[in-house]
């Protein structure tokens, strides 16, 4: 009977996917176009999509890095920024921008809005779904553009590419450092936790649930189950019928979640360098705690925000200093698989 249960599950997930797509469709009116340059998108272009709120500090480097990798067009949703993010983004030549004042949490952390934009503009394109504090890297990213990676994935019949989110942090209290917009954030945030990750396969969606890193070590020692999820699938050859389920951790249809090998071999994978712990985090934490917009059970994370407000030092003796992707590859945090 197990095949029957399996078939029922597949059927339920199909309806779940349709429900989520419809949800995105209903939310479309919340988006007001600020500037739409999507007519610039060419058939082979690589698109990035992101929801932002007051990210003026991070955006210059974010855009520069991903442009250098070869992202051709950016789709942004601005969720009620008041620091000039909207003005900054609308001036960028390769950015299409929408704005909304509706709830981030109600929009499944921005995913509903982006799903609608992806339905409209990203079908058939390789699409990179990121937060403004995520810097995507992959094996050979310094010498091979993103185009080389997606062509290689195409040749290997892969439609999705997984990445581990790596929390980067400074040595010393987070606020004791200076960061100017546009600087390389990893001059300040040059440390990370190299080997304390735990993972399990999720029975329903079959994605890997990865936890660990500095936030698990520092803030969730009493309740490791609550520690943030670190596995993501940010790069997908998009189809209008695809949908992200929770943030970019998992997708439907679920075969897109199979970005790992189970036969002992190693597939290729990348890293999202997480710039969350720039000095601005201390102020942002108070605000986020007030807004309660970032977690499904936001109240449970008060302790986490309180700890962040106290300007903590995340560094420890066992921290590793970031050098290059080759180092991350050798440490086993990502893999080039057979992409030599």
């Amino acid at each position: 009977m197990s095949w029957l249960a399996e078939a029922a599950m597949v059927y339920r997930l199909r309806w779940k996917r349709r429900r989520l797509l419809f949800r995105a469709f209903r939310k479309r009116r919340q988006l007001k176009p600020v500037i739409n340059r999507t007519h610039q998108i060419n058939p082979d272009d690589i698109i990035a999509a992101s929801t932002v709120r007051n990210e003026l500090v991070r955006l210059p480097h974010f855009l520069e890095h991903h442009r250098d990798l070869g992202v051709n067009h950016f789709l942004f949703v601005d969720n009620a920024s008041d620091d000039g993010t909207q003005e900054y983004l609308s001036k960028q030549p390769d950015v299409s921008l929408w704005s909304t004042n509706s709830s981030y949490k109600q929009s499944r952390f921005g995913v509903d809005w982006l799903t609608w934009l992806q339905i409209k503009y990203a079908g058939g394109h390789w699409c990179l779904m990121l937060d403004a504090d995520e810097i995507f890297i992959y094996p050979h990213h310094d010498t091979r553009p993103l185009k080389a990676l997606v062509e290689w994935l195409d040749r290997n019949d892969r439609q999705s590419f997984g990445a581990l989110m790596l929390d980067m942090y400074p040595k010393g209290p987070v606020k004791s450092h200076i960061y100017a917009p546009g600087d390389d954030p990893f001059k300040v945030l040059c440390w990370f936790d190299g080997g304390n990750y735990v993972m399990q396969k999720q029975p329903k969606l079959e994605n890997l649930w990865i936890q660990g890193g500095v936030r698990a070590r520092k803030f969730f020692g009493d309740n490791p189950r609550r520690a943030p999820t670190m596995g993501k699938t940010p790069l997908v050859k998009w189809n209008k019928r695809f949908v992200y389920v929770s943030s970019t951790h998992s997708l439907l249809p679920r075969w897109l979640n199979h970005v790992y090998e189970e036969d002992g071999g190693e597939g290729a994978s990348g890293i999202l360098l997480h710039t969350k712990f720039l000095p601005v985090i201390v102020e942002k934490s108070s605000e986020e705690k007030e807004r309660q917009e970032h977690f499904a059970n936001s109240a449970l994370y008060d302790g986490y925000y309180d700890a962040l407000k106290d300007n903590p030092d995340l560094w420890c003796e066992g921290s590793t200093q970031y050098i290059s992707w080759r180092q991350l590859e050798a440490m086993g945090l990502m893999s080039r698989g057979n992409w030599v």
Binding site: G194, P224, G264, G318, T320, M334
Partner: protein
């Protein structure tokens, strides 16, 4: 030169060949739109020794590729009577050494055909199991577009025992499709009175472009060197590796004349190899073997992975891990209870990092009371117990190069991991049974509490020993009773330490 995409690169390479005086015949895939093709033809119209062959539809693994090669070869032999060697290249081939060096090399070997050509029995290349069968079955369905029908039809033919007859008793040979043949051999193949016969046979062979010329050249060649002058590397599925900018040094080191496939956007490679490197006339033999190791390692990485590593793109199901851990480690049970200062003594006697009870209930006892180990592995017991298997695998992985050792006892929380340890061939487990009683004996607790605690620990220990003695245990396990051990303690200790390998 067979081209189907990246025409600007093909043009660039063509000009490079032409500049060295080589005539070129192009074959463009019939699927290429007329507009693109005509533009390409027009662009090359200033080169006198360029011709274009009749176009065929070239789908991977089909006869079209051979037909294309035949047409182009005929044009080449007819139009350019001075040509002695014909080099089959593709639009994504890139000459790595000055063309003049290749010309000199071929002038020195006027009667040699360079074509990789081996029987199916000789080589284990073929991926997917179709080796001899590709010559004896029929393949009317496309492998790329109709995999299901392809597989079903193969299975059907196997089940009814169907075999095609190989004409005239020729011996099928296979090899890289990129060859360099002499005029004599090539013309003999093309003008063979039996050619219609052969063509009909090979047109239904699986991937004929890897066997048509490879087989027939064996009939006529005066001298065959069974190797391709074109460097190409294949991954574990038989797909060619693509060369990017960062392969520059690697390609230089290979000393090969031509390489494929080059990524069309690899600007640095095209710039480096297509600028004239006059002067440095080296006489080195091509040596693709020099760079083999890197590609062999990639296959290994992709198919076996790094044992003991669990990560976002390697999460083997149980039984496929190639070991839970990546290196050997030692577990001592009962030793630190029996001997005072056992841990510091052991650390002094060996090169190991000696931890206390890593699975102690309250906190992880890392060596020297460290709060975090390599890789920022925390001593928080809750984090450890959340996934003890990952904890142990991470510890051993993070400390590669330094052997780890830790204490274990019935007071520890090891229930979730004891089977994993017992089944791990990297574990060396030495047990003194009953040694936990020493601590109880020395304690100042009430008698009934001691008795209750002793019963509990004994029960845990006996279950643990069952696991260690089970038929599935793969660790190197030694078990002594406390009485045995106390009687002659030095000898077993010496054996353990000898095994660890460092006095």
């Amino acid at each position: 030169m067979l081209v189907h995409t990246a025409f600007d690169r093909a043009e660039q390479v063509a000009r490079h060949w032409a500049a060295a005086g080589c005539p070129i015949v192009f074959h463009a895939d019939k699927a290429v739109p007329a507009k693109t093709y005509n533009a390409f033809v027009k662009k090359l119209s200033d080169l006198p020794d360029v011709r274009f062959a009749q176009r065929h539809r070239c789908e991977w693994g089909t006869w079209g590729l051979v037909a294309a090669t035949q047409s182009a070869s005929e044009v080449m032999l007819q139009e350019f009577p001075d040509v002695r060697h014909v080099y089959l290249a593709s639009g994504s081939c890139l000459p790595l050494r000055p063309v003049q060096e290749l010309i000199d090399y071929l002038v020195d070997r006027p009667h040699t055909d360079f074509i990789e050509s081996a029987t199916t029995a000789d080589v284990p290349w073929t991926i997917g199991g179709l080796d001899q069968e590709r010559f004896t079955l029929r393949f009317p369905f496309s492998w790329r577009k109709n995999r299901f029908l392809f597989d079903r039809y193969v299975a059907f033919q196997r089940s009814v025992g169907f075999r095609r007859k190989i004409p005239n008793g020729i011996v099928p040979h296979m090899g890289s499709q990129w060859w360099c043949l002499t005029r004599q051999t090539l013309s003999a193949i093309l003008e063979d009175p039996e050619r219609r016969h052969y063509d009909r046979y090979f047109s239904k062979v699986w991937i004929p472009d890897e066997s048509y010329f490879q087989t027939l050249s064996r009939l006529y060649s005066r001298q065959i060197e069974s190797r391709s002058l074109t460097l190409s590397k294949f991954d574990y599925q038989g797909k060619p590796h693509i060369f990017y900018d960062d392969h520059l040094q690697l390609l230089r080191r290979s000393d090969c004349f031509v390489a494929r496939k080059i990524w069309p956007y690899a600007e640095r490679l095209y710039r480096a190899f297509l600028t004239d490197q006059a002067g440095a006339m080296s006489r080195t033999e091509p040596n693709p073997g020099k760079i083999d190791r890197i590609f062999a390692k990639a296959v290994e990485r992709r198919t076996r992975g790094r044992p003991g590593l669990f990560m976002q793109s390697r999460f083997p199901v149980e039984g496929r891990e190639n070991g839970l851990t990546c290196a050997q480690y030692s577990i001592f049970e009962g030793f630190s209870e029996l001997f005072e200062n056992f841990e510091s003594w052991l650390a002094k006697m060996t090169d190991m990092r000696v931890h206390g009870h890593l699975f102690a209930p309250d906190a992880v006892e890392f060596s020297e009371g460290q709060q975090v180990m390599n890789g920022a592995l925390s001593n928080n017991a809750k984090l450890r117990d959340y996934n003890p298997k990952a904890f142990l695998a991470s510890l051993i992985w993070n400390t590669r190069g330094e052997r780890q050792c830790f204490q274990l006892g019935p007071r520890d929380t090891f229930k979730k991991i004891e089977w994993d340890i017992a089944k791990d061939p990297n574990a060396q487990i030495s047990v003194i049974t009953g040694a936990w009683a020493v601590t109880l004996f020395k304690s100042n607790a009430n008698f009934s509490d001691i008795r209750r605690e002793a019963a509990r620990l004994q029960q845990i220990e006996s279950k643990h020993l069952e696991v260690l003695r089970s038929q599935w245990a793969k660790a190197r396990i030694r078990i002594w009773t406390m009485a045995e051990f106390v009687e002659a303690p030095m000898e077993p200790l010496q054996r353990i330490i000898d095994e660890i390998g460092k006095q």
